[in-house]
């Protein structure tokens, strides 16, 4: 703009252009709007989340506020209102999970982390995006989640399944990707502290660029068998910008049997 002005364009025109630019930005990005027009976009104009992302939060250690302890750094929590609204019996189960967390956390078996846990687990994941879907490849376990953005719906009741990652159908509200996730199993935990859910879990995610290298990730969790009301979490995801950064496959469940398979060579037995 300054260079435009230095070229002698009337200041009034510059102000008009600027106002128009801001207006367009505001319309295009009603959500976290600050990202404006500078965020990456697909050919269809939708925000392009392609890249490798990771949270720096302590969410996976415990979604709720917690002091430091042997197995977790302290964290202020990522739950709106701080506490997860468990039903009484479910709270007892959560306490049992917490006590058994050093052996019972499914992550210890390297099993698929689930949704939303995979998003804030402290290992990178990569987003690949097309108009019709968003593909998430998690380094941990190298599991793959697809968010369909092609107008398809959750499976009908007669075709319903129970998935580790749930069934994800997304749509756009302005520059926010809103994802409805259902059809879960009850096998996954929400964090290392034993927070959990049933197969009735329903997650609604909101993915919004804060700036071109930061995603604001929000999720509402609803599960009438476990929680007394829906509750919300929010974490930020940062783009990996290290030179040549890439996912390194982490099929950690193979560690259980790796010792049986020494690299073949003429020398080893």
């Amino acid at each position: 703009m300054l260079s435009s002005n230095s070229l002698g364009r009337p200041l009034g025109r510059l102000v008009t252009m600027l106002a128009g630019y801001l207006l367009i930005s505001a319309v295009a990005a009603p959500g976290a709007g600050a990202a404006g027009a500078k965020i990456p976009r697909l050919a269809n104009g939708k925000p392009d989340f392609s890249g490798i992302w990771q949270t720096t939060s302590a969410a996976d250690y415990d979604l709720e506020p917690h002091s430091t302890r042997q197995d977790a750094p302290p964290g202020a929590g990522v739950v709106t209102g701080n506490s997860i609204p468990y039903l009484p019996q479910a709270l007892e189960q959560k306490k049992r999970n917490f006590d058994a967390r050093q052996s019972a956390d499914p992550r210890l078996k390297c099993w698929t982390l689930g949704t939303p846990r995979g998003i804030y687990y402290p290992e990178p994941f990569q987003i690949f995006q097309r108009g019709q879907d968003v593909t998430l490849v998690f380094e941990f376990g190298h599991s793959v989640r697809t968010i369909n953005t092609n107008g398809t719906l959750h499976p009908t009741e007669e075709n319903a399944n129970e998935f580790w990652l749930g069934d994800s159908r997304g749509h756009w509200e302005g520059d926010t990707l809103v994802v409805d996730v259902t059809d879960f199993n009850d096998e996954t935990w929400l964090d290392r502290a034993g927070n959990f859910h049933s197969e009735a879990l329903h997650v609604v995610e909101k993915w919004t660029y804060l700036d071109s290298n930061t995603i604001d990730y929000q999720a509402r969790l609803e599960d009438p068998k476990v929680f007394s009301r829906p509750w919300d979490i929010e974490v930020l995801l940062y783009r990996h910008r290290e030179k040549n950064f890439q996912l390194i496959e982490n099929y950690c469940f193979t560690l259980d049997f790796d010792k049986y398979y020494p690299v073949p060579s003429a020398d080893n037995r």
Binding site: Q126, F163, D256, F257, S265
Partner: protein, 370 residues
């Protein structure tokens, strides 16, 4: 309704049952005739007690992999598509005349599967597993009536093993049906990724393309092919599926695979490479957009006497093909209107590998994984 995928395969001769539930052996060469049965995924499976499910084609007594929807339903009619071609069609490298993606890549996205056979036998793909006491995996007919060896060079169709490596392969095969030591259980049966190149012989898979990438989604692992020319990972890092760098030459995707961990077997017959292997892949796509040939030149001076080439033909599957629980496990999406849009189930394995997990991964070991 439970969703269960039992990718597993391969603990031949080891009971793959839990609590009296049997996993019926299926003839490896035919489509499943039985209804699909899936156990409830519940606490039992969390404890590693659920049997592998999904009665897809498999070697004797081996539940096959697959992304198997849990709803029990009548067996679908046997699909008319190519199931066991006996020859490899010739496809030449050359120009790509089909559609391209905005970034210039030939558009070859979609669902694909090999046209020859599963991973029972590397060099006689339709010949069954030597020593299979059930003969269920055996294909009738003379050798000349069956598909050629996947070893297209040398001409004798055999992997040019050094002597020690040949005896190691024979030792593995001799114990496949009597795995008296843990190392005789194929890692794949424990849900390890199939590795390169075996993944191309096990169930259908999906290819997705993105600017700078070709991504393969297998039932047993994922490969991300980087097209941006970045250097390979440091040599110290060893991976089941290796580290892949590729580029397009006309109709051919050329991929260099390094950083292999050398732990996967190419087939149940036990062929292998070491962590020193370098693999140069050429995916040659027919301009008819319906077929491609996979050719991999495999070089490992510590295991072979010379480089050799593997060839695996593949064909495309679309919504016009009937799902068959093996090559094409793709349901139609729930969509308003008459559009027919393919859907894809999530791909998991170890989580649902209970029947095998109990044998292959003792619970105690599983719990001390990390």
């Amino acid at each position: 309704m439970a969703f269960a995928m039992a990718l597993s395969a391969g603990v031949v001769g080891v009971p793959s049952t839990a609590h009296g539930q049997t996993t019926a052996g299926q003839n490896a060469d035919v489509a499943p005739e039985a209804p699909r049965i899936s156990p409830a995924v519940g606490p039992a499976s969390a404890a590693g007690l659920a049997p592998a499910a999904g009665l897809a084609p498999a070697a004797g007594g081996i539940p096959a992999a697959g992304v198997t929807p849990a709803v029990a339903q009548a067996a679908p009619p046997r699909p008319p598509g190519i199931r066991w071609e006996h020859a490899v069609r010739q496809i030449s490298s050359g120009k790509w005349t089909g559609p391209r993606l905005p970034d210039g890549q030939p558009d070859i996205q979609g669902d694909w599967s090999n046209t020859i056979a599963n991973q029972n036998n590397w060099t006689d793909p339709q010949g069954g597993i030597p020593g299979d006491p059930t003969t269920r995996s055996h294909h009738p007919g003379a050798r000349g009536d069956r598909a050629p060896s996947r070893v297209s060079d040398p001409a004798d169709g055999q992997v040019p093993f050094q002597d020690w490596a040949r005896s190691r392969q024979q030792e593995f095969l001799a114990h496949l049906f009597n795995p008296i030591r843990p190392e005789y259980v194929e890692p794949f049966a424990r849900c390890a990724p199939g590795g390169v190149p075996k993944s191309f012989t096990w169930h259908g898979y999906e290819i997705r393309q993105f600017p700078g990438y070709v991504v393969f989604l297998f039932g047993s692992g994922t490969r991300i092919i980087h097209l941006d020319g970045k250097p390979h990972l440091p040599d110290k890092i060893k991976l089941w599926n290796g580290d892949s760098r590729g580029h397009w030459e006309g109709n051919t995707l050329v991929v260099n695979v390094s950083n292999n961990n050398g732990k996967a077997r190419f087939a149940r017959t036990g062929e292998f490479a070491s962590e020193h292997v370098e693999i140069e892949e050429r995916y040659i796509f027919d301009n008819d957009r319906k077929h491609y040939n996979y050719q991999a030149t495999i070089t490992d001076p510590t295991v072979y006497t010379r480089p050799w080439t593997a060839t695996i033909p593949a064909r495309r599957y679309t919504v016009d093909d009937a799902p068959d629980d093996w090559h094409y496990e793709v349901p139609l999406a729930n969509v308003p209107g008459k559009d027919r849009i393919p859907d894809h189930f999530e791909r998991t394995c170890v989580e649902n590998n209970g029947g095998f997990g109990r044998v292959a991964v003792p619970p105690a070991a599983a719990n001390s994984a990390k």
